[in-house]
Homo-oligomer: 290 residues x 2
């Protein structure tokens, strides 16, 4: 009652885009400036600048929200949005990940007001390789294989997309702040170094699943000669895009994270192929900067 | 040789996002400030503010690039990018439409440097209704039916998406600066007033095609009881989202343009349905602002 912000307080969920601190929109920056508390979601994607650079740019402190905070203690993020402006900063666009949908719903349940500020996402920027976004089918996530755990649940989805003349965007796994159970068994809280799946690992895993299924007579979704586009650091100055067959891209060095991969449709249109030419394995890719 | 900008001149293709002048990114605004010439692509989408508001905001003049200029005289846009910074401003994200891919390719052909500055697009923002973006299949465009011309080429695409558990984003037709041939036959250059397809017209056209095919035994892609989400003015303060069956949404007033429509997959996940609840026909939709 006594708080002047009670009627206007807001939980902002703000997309930061894909590159650095300058990819926020003016609307997003205005919202940041109105906020008492800033949280940065830092486990489903990353910018090429860290929390410190953003803090300096905003002139405000930021709390890094890791998976534990967002999934198990989310109320500490949205709880105070009943009485003050709070922002959850999200790399890319806020509506691309289930995580942010969930926190939005929970905030609405306690009566908070929520405003989403959109931005570029990998799902939109993937079109910059020249493949048309309206020809993309469902998106798949490729998790790191671990020992015996080698899930191939993406395989029928890629097959269905390709048969229906659709490209498949593959989002590659990110492991940030994963517990080191060996150390933890000894009573210490230790996290493994961050790991980001490369295009090369993604291709090896894709081919392993396809070849295993093919041996059982259930393959045929794609093969070593299937056209793909590997992309790294989209929306950043040193972004890298290389098109070629799965076999050709297996050993291409895409450099620093984040990487993603598109498996092309069985039929790729002429205009798309013409755009892809400039990114062909071995071609000069320097003219198109982004 | 004598021009100091020759080595750094750039064609910027800058996404403006979906709302108003404040949805540009800081990177985009910096680029605008460096440019000698600004063109605004104004026939595949619109912001809720016009050219004059953008000119005032940038402190620069803008040339509106209509379909004729972009498709037939594009060199007047990218031609001078060899010696000075030029920007093509695009509502949403630049890589969402074939038009911008084409101009990019042609600029590269004459040796221009091109930089794309990404932003939010309808294809990303469509996720704000709660349907998960990675469950979307290929996107379809619905053109206005005209007399005998009632194309149903989207129908098998929607059918394929729905059978594969994918949602379908339908982009609704925009007619801007269409020639008035009756007046032009009399020797005057006259354009028809702009027309933007509503969710209601889209649904009527969709049902007409489905019902015609069903009568011939070829229907079954969707029906009056198929779950859909109508969306208007996404990314703007008065955005409207209403979920319901095709039949229920036929008479819902979504207000001013732009409208778009999602036809849900045959199976829609529980978390998606929970998010959709707040947008249900007749529900209070005021709490989630954007």
């Amino acid at each position: 009652m006594g708080n002047p912000h009670q009627d206007t307080a807001m939980l902002y969920i703000i997309g930061l885009g894909l590159g650095d601190e300058k990819d926020i929109t003016l609307r997003g920056l205005e919202a940041v400036r109105s906020c008492s508390k800033l949280f940065l979601e830092a486990y489903t994607s990353i910018l090429c600048v860290g929390k410190e650079k953003l803090e300096e740019f905003y002139g405000k402190e930021i709390t890094v929200a890791d998976r534990h905070l967002v999934e198990s203690e989310a109320e500490s993020i949205y709880g105070s949005a009943l009485v003050e402006d709070v922002a959850l900063l999200v790399v890319g666009d806020p509506v691309c990940a289930t995580t942010h949908t969930d926190i939005m719903l929970r905030a609405l349940e306690i009566g908070a007001r929520v405003e989403v500020i959109h931005n570029a996402s990998i799902m939109g920027a993937a079109g910059c390789c020249g493949l048309q976004l309206y020809n993309f089918g469902q998106t798949v996530s490729l998790p790191f294989f671990e020992g015996e755990w080698r899930p191939g649940s993406f395989h029928p989805k890629v097959a269905y997309n390709r048969k229906g003349a659709m490209h498949t965007l593959c989002l590659l796994d990110i492991k940030v702040k994963e517990p080191d159970f060996v150390a933890m068994a000894k009573g210490r809280t230790v996290f493994q170094p961050p790991r980001f799946m490369t295009v090369n690992v993604a291709l090896r895993q894709l081919l392993e699943i396809e070849e295993g299924l093919a041996a059982a007579g259930e393959g045929g979704a794609y093969a070593r000669d299937t056209l793909c586009v590997g992309m790294a650091r989209l929306g950043q100055a040193d972004r890298t895009i290389v098109a070629g067959t799965m076999g050709e891209l297996l050993d291409v060095d895409f450099g620093a994270p984040l990487h993603s991969l598109v498996i092309c449709a069985e039929d790729t249109h002429d205009l798309e192929l013409e755009m892809l030419k400039q990114f062909w394995v071995g071609a000069d890719t320097k003219r198109l900067e982004e």
